[in-house]
């Protein structure tokens, strides 16, 4: 039961890489992940269909290695689908027959519903139990909360939560805040998306957008816009977990293993959450935030006791 979850059984997941990295870096990254204590790994491109550092068979190879290392592997999918070619790729992923799929758009749900159990990603906009229940009827077995949903709302969810459905939260990383037809990285280079020359590969953690007061504000990641601050819910691992089954860590170009290790130590009770937060803060040059979780502005940083 979700409500009875304790930190001992909370699992850690690694979300899909949000950025455009060269193939070699991706392979190295997942090789290192094999020996980390993360339980679930989401693989694949969820942001821009033009990014093709790895071929499908490379991804499958990565998936197999991670599976051999004891990880649960899930194939993630695009949040924004525009072209029929993208739907073709989506169908290949949805019918892969071996690995579970994370649906990040209703296009994927339409392909998966009634065919195989699936995971509902954060961009599906599941805001209430009736919406969740409909997707459960179609085969949803796990849902990732929309990033702006608070602890208070999650608690209200739990009363009507269908049995056996797992809840995952975005617990570490720059928040995905928006998707667009326009590529903002290309725009920063004054070129249109069709001539992008894959310029986002030069920004392994996205391209910083600051206010005119030099405040790091947002991060441009191709067609996706992220928060500059890193969302951090490590404190929620230190006590009985309020209905969270899985804590998602979003990959960054450096220190991901260290982040996983810190979360794991807090999970196992060997590291105090405040100390963990201090250590994590040193890995996030543009600051931490957790406002959404406390029913505040997403960019706010609340102490563990603030907010409802």
């Amino acid at each position: 039961m979700s409500t009875a979850s304790t930190r001992a059984c909370a699992r850690l997941s690694l979300g899909p890489i949000q950025y455009h990295w060269p193939g070699e870096k991706i392979l190295e990254f997942y090789h290192a992940i094999e020996s980390t204590p993360v339980d679930i790994v989401y693989l694949g491109e969820s942001v821009c269909s033009k990014r093709r550092s790895l071929r499908v068979r490379d991804w499958i190879e990565v998936a197999e290695r991670l599976q051999s290392a004891g990880k649960e592997v899930v194939l993630s999918t695009l949040a924004l689908l525009e072209a029929n070619s993208e739907l073709g790729m989506l169908r290949r992923i949805c019918t892969n027959g071996r690995f579970a799929v994370e649906a990040n758009d209703m296009s994927a749900v339409q392909m998966l519903a009634g065919e195989t159990d699936f995971i509902g990603g954060a961009s599906l906009n599941i805001y209430n139990p009736r919406a969740l229940g409909k997707l459960v009827d179609m085969g949803l077995m796990r849902w990732v909360m929309p990033v702006e949903v608070s602890k208070r709302v999650l608690s209200a969810f739990l009363e009507g939560m269908p049995a056996g459905i797992e809840t995952e939260v975005f617990a570490w990383g720059r928040l995905p805040l928006a998707y667009s037809a326009r590529c903002y990285t290309a725009r920063a280079h004054k070129i249109p998306k069709d001539a992008c020359a894959y310029c986002c590969i030069d920004y392994p953690d996205g391209l910083m957008l600051s206010t005119r007061e030099n405040e790091s504000f947002l991060v441009l990641n191709g067609i996706q816009t992220q928060s500059a601050r890193v969302h951090n819910l490590v404190h929620e691992l230190s006590g009985p977990v309020p209905g969270i089954d899985i804590f998602r860590i979003s990959p960054q170009s450096e220190h991901t293993e260290q982040v996983i290790s810190v979360f794991d130590q807090v999970r196992s009770g060997t590291l105090d959450a405040n100390e963990a937060s201090d250590e994590l803060e040193s890995l996030a040059a543009t600051g931490l935030c957790n406002g959404y979780w406390h029913s505040e502005a997403g960019m706010a940083s609340c102490s563990a006791v603030c907010g409802p």
């Binding site: 525009e82 339409q110 009736r130 928006a178 037809a181 957008l209």
Partner: protein, 353 residues
């Protein structure tokens, strides 16, 4: 049960039928004067919302209460104009009943369609009011025919409004493969992010379109004068800074000026409005079923002008699509209504992307 719906249910579109589609003009109404302005100037349908966060234009002084909605329907009925009610935000567990109430109220009035985004609300409406016509709101973020099929097959949705992210070619492919008619945005303020998946406002203020029904709520906006500049802030975050003699736009995050790679500018989009007049024949040819004007938050004068121009343009285009050229006076009028006094084709044009 719902009162009889006056509006015949649209059938799936096939290519031979596509040219005969009426291309309905759907106009915004944030209050009764705007509704009358839309109807008097040629709207085929108007869309409205209730006075709360159940719709995506939840602004002070805007929208309809129970009493006003009756007057609104009476006026629309007497002019043969359809009325759609937008209940297009996402309820949460503790306020779901408010959305149920909105659905019931609209259904009891016998409105022509509900415009919905949340599948929980859709499920409620489809069960409680099976005769009531449902449209998919742009806030549901459906950008592919598979997503549209999802809503059509599982909730009986009869029309989908699509986000402003597809090129004309992509709209054409979607229309061809969609099981239901497609409505697109034709004129008005431009969301450059996929609608329904933009949390920029809630990131900065805690309130955003999905759950609160407003982007950059006015209560968080501050205009500050310094020695020679005017600064606009949203919950303290500097969105733009202009010279005192310059026009300062409303601090919508995506239309602000920021620094990227050491350069200051409109990193996301300039203040501009969408205008599809130049591609109207294309939209007609590919079989778009309806064109929507954005702007329930705008004045009756705005609604009147935008509706009048779009009505004239659609009529001219339908009479002679091959030779349709947008009238300069129409373009000038739409530009005068636009953010930053400029317009764009947005994502319809690939170069914009």
């Amino acid at each position: 049960m719902a009162r009889a719906c006056r509006y015949a249910q649209n059938q799936p579109v096939n290519s031979s039928e596509r040219h005969q589609i009426a291309m309905e003009l759907v106009c915004p109404a944030g209050n009764l004067p705007s509704l009358k302005a839309a109807i008097d100037n040629g709207a085929d349908a108007v869309y409205i919302g209730f006075k709360d966060e159940t719709n995506a234009r939840h602004f002070a002084g805007l929208n309809f209460d129970n009493k006003k909605i009756g007057q609104c329907l009476a006026y629309a009925r007497s002019h043969g104009t359809r009325v759609y009610v937008a209940i297009n935000t996402y309820p949460q567990p503790d306020n779901f009943t408010k959305w149920e109430g909105a659905v019931d109220q609209a259904a009891e009035y016998g409105v022509d369609a509900l415009i919905l985004a949340d599948i929980g609300v859709m499920d409620y409406a489809a069960h409680k009011w099976p005769e009531l016509r449902l449209h998919l709101s742009v806030q549901a973020s459906a950008t592919s025919h598979e997503a549209v099929r999802f809503y059509a097959e599982r909730f009986g949705v009869k029309r989908a409004v699509i986000p402003r992210v597809l090129s004309v070619k992509q709209v054409e492919a979607l229309v061809s493969n969609s099981p239901i008619p497609i409505e697109v945005f034709g004129f008005g303020s431009l969301c450059v992010m996929v609608e329904g998946r933009c949390y920029l406002s809630s990131y900065v203020t805690g309130q955003g379109p999905n759950t609160f029904g407003a982007c950059s709520p006015a209560s968080f906006v501050r205009w500050t004068e310094t020695d020679s500049k005017l600064e606009t802030r949203l919950n303290g975050v500097l969105i733009d800074r202009v010279d005192k003699d310059e026009h300062a736009g409303y601090p919508t995050i995506c239309k602000g000026r920021f620094e990227v790679n050491g350069k200051t500018g409109y990193a996301i989009e300039e203040p501009t409005s969408l205008n599809t007049l130049p591609i109207l024949p294309e939209l007609l040819r590919i079989g778009v079923a309806a064109i929507k004007i954005e702007g329930r938050q705008r004045s009756p004068a705005y609604v009147a002008k935008a509706t009048r121009v779009m009505r004239a343009a659609i009529d001219a285009c339908k009479r002679d699509p091959e030779n349709f050229i947008p009238d300069q006076a129409w373009l000038a009028q739409l530009t005068s209504l636009s953010e930053g006094a400029q317009t764009t084709l947005g994502a319809y044009q690939r170069d914009w992307q």
